[in-house]
């Protein structure tokens, strides 16, 4: 009992604090052997990474991350809710469909990334083959490098993200008492009206939570971009977690990497704080 909290302190709390400490040092490959030589640099690392025109600027990856997260979530949430509403109806084959819908969620991210890397191969992949068959646009597209890489990443991410929302929305739907619908029907409410006035308000708390968790998950997503786009990725699809990885384990610049990591955490603070507040109010 006490040992497990001690272990958690060692492996979770101390590292988090240390990340902040490292972010104000010049720790790099040259000083990692003797950390006391690294030297404090104050907020220089933060100024470097937040300087729009500086060579170490992370504003590009930051913008990519925010856009990628927002677009993925905005597409995945309605899809997930639609899927949940669908399989909440009675029809033969429903049980099978429920399991099928879990597949993108239960596939390991590195396998999902592998499939979409194959689909987006220029000229030979399924994406270009289908475009050629349909006669839409060019039949040889650079999907994984250049500006398209952002969209390739977003499409793959939506594919793997919506079942998470679906699972949570379905649980919430199943908790809505059938009497509500009966009463509404007696009062003459139509199908759409019942959805807006009963279903949506009833599942709203869960939806907001799903939205929060989805934002956190997408913003932290590392494996999908890392395996899908290779390393280093196209500049247009370089997201923060991958940028932090490159700065720390390719450039071995731990000081700047930690500064980016702290920026990453600060951006996430809003959804995280909301999630924690929600979790706490549920407890009491």
């Amino acid at each position: 009992m006490a040992p497990s909290f001690a272990l958690m302190t060692v492996v979770s709390y101390i590292p988090l604090l240390l990340a902040v400490v490292i972010s104000v040092t010049a720790l790099s490959i040259f000083t990692i052997g003797d950390v006391w030589q690294a030297g404090l640099v104050g907020l220089t690392n933060y100024l470097d990474v937040l300087n729009p025109s500086g060579p170490l600027s992370v504003l590009g990856p930051l913008r990519n991350s925010v856009l990628f997260t927002v677009i993925t979530t905005l597409v995945a949430v309605p899809l997930g809710v639609a899927a949940a509403v669908l399989v909440n109806q009675q029809f033969p084959g429903r049980a099978l469909l429920r399991t099928v819908m879990l597949i993108p969620f239960i596939l390991p991210d590195f396998v999902t990334a592998l499939i979409w890397r194959l689909i987006f191969q220029s000229g030979t992949g399924a994406a270009d083959q289908v475009l050629r068959f349909l006669g839409i646009g060019a039949d040889y597209n650079l999907w994984l490098i250049g500006p398209n890489a952002f969209w390739a990443l977003t499409i793959a991410s939506v594919w793997s993200a919506w079942p998470f929302v679906y699972i949570m929305a379905l649980a919430a739907l199943q908790a809505v008492p059938a009497e509500y619908y009966d009463a509404a029907e007696v009062d003459g409410a139509g199908r759409l009206r019942r959805f807006w006035s009963i279903t949506l308000p009833a599942i709203k708390p869960t939806l907001v939570l799903a939205l929060c968790l989805s934002v956190i998950n997408q913003f932290n997503s590392f494996t999908l971009p890392f395996v899908l786009l290779g390393h280093p990725p196209a500049e247009e699809a370089n997201v923060l977690p991958v940028e932090i990885y490159t700065t720390s384990f390719t450039a071995n610049d731990y000081g700047h990497a930690s500064a980016i990591a702290v920026v990453n955490l600060l951006v996430l603070l809003i959804p995280i704080a909301y999630y924690l507040k929600k979790a706490r109010s549920d407890e009491n």
Binding site: M1, P3, S4, F5, M8, V11, P15, L16, L18, A19, I22, L27, I32, V35, A83, L86, Q89, Q90, F91, T99, V100, M101, I103, F105, L107, P108, F110, V111, L114, I115, R117, L118, T124, A126, W159, F164, I167, M168, E185, R194, P205, T206, L209, F219, N220, T223, V227, G230, P241, I244, Y245, S248, F249, S258, N264, L268, L276, A279, D282, E283
Partner: protein, 293 residues
């Protein structure tokens, strides 16, 4: 000509949309999910010369499922992942159970803060923790002059820093729902606290323990980030093994898409099977006990 003479059953009204709309939408969702997966299987079965460059199902054979074992060191990746994920699952369940019991049954200062900080850990990005952990590990390694980076034990310990907060949170939520009377009855019968814990509480918690163990297992199995920094040639896990395979194959001219897809299918099986087993519990697992009702 048809006349609708179905008797209207009381209480069961046809409030859903027409069946064909349901099947149309259901079919669309199934296609979106299954087409990429079917494509993966198709390419895995194609001969190496054309694999991944055509949609034609010609000359299909399952030989890539044999060839892939010699194309990459898949057996070693699987063995490493199996050892690391299993120990992570067992260790975090065992340690987490004890901590969860304390959280659920004893009132003490900072209890709520502690519970909340467990959730905070759950939302912290792995990459944010990886840098300080790596710096600490390098310092320890230099101090004791023993190579610890690349060992199974270190990777397991690292995964536990993520699986443990989650496990404690889940189990303590579950334990608070168990009635305290059982424990009181056992105490009256003269059982010690430890006996009660092992003989009574543990069996009752077993279903929840299975779920948290599977989540911890899958967490370790699916990881690429930590494995890419904390493994060496002979301790590589499936995640990083696959990442290296796909990047070297892409650079090497011959992409071997059939072998890549076969390896992807083989490495996905354990995670998929385990999740399907606990499919009913996925919901509680996902929300980490935060949504009640």
């Amino acid at each position: 000509m048809r006349t609708d003479i179905r008797p209207s059953k009381p209480g069961v009204r046809n409030r859903g949309p027409a069946k064909w709309i349901l099947y149309l939408c259901g079919g669309a969702f199934a296609l979106v999910v299954l087409l990429p997966v079917a494509y993966m299987f198709l390419v895995a079965l194609q001969p190496i010369e054309v694999a991944g460059s055509t949609l034609a199902p010609d000359r299909l054979s399952p030989r890539s499922f044999i060839d892939v074992w010699s194309a990459i060191d898949l057996a070693s990746y699987l063995a490493n992942s199996l050892v690391i994920a299993t120990i992570t699952a067992l260790a975090s369940s065992l340690v987490g159970f004890g901590a969860a019991y304390v959280l659920a049954r004893f009132k003490f200062r900072f209890r709520n803060f502690l519970r909340l900080s467990l959730l905070a850990c759950y939302t912290t990005p792995g990459i944010v923790l990886l840098i300080p952990l790596y710096v600490i590990y390098v310092q320890i390694q230099n101090a004791v002059s023993v190579q610890i980076i690349g060992s199974h034990a270190l990777l397991i310990l690292t995964y536990m820093s993520f699986s443990l907060p989650y496990t404690i949170w889940m189990l303590s939520g579950y334990l608070t729902t168990l009635p305290a009377d059982v424990e009181e009855a056992a105490a009256i019968d003269g059982a010690t606290r430890f006996q009660t814990l092992v003989r009574i509480i543990l069996p009752l918690t077993l279903p929840a323990l299975v779920v948290t163990a599977i989540f911890s297992f899958v967490l370790a199995w699916n990881d690429v980030l930590f494995a890419s920094v904390l493994t060496k040639n002979d301790t590589r896990t499936v995640g990083i093994g696959m990442q290296l395979f796909v990047s070297t194959a892409a650079d090497g001219g011959l992409p071997q898409w059939n072998n890549l897809m076969a390896a992807g299918i083989i490495t996905a099986v354990p995670a998929v099977v385990l999740f399907i087993i606990i499919q009913r519990y996925l919901i509680s697992g996902l929300t980490a006990g935060s949504v009640k009702g």
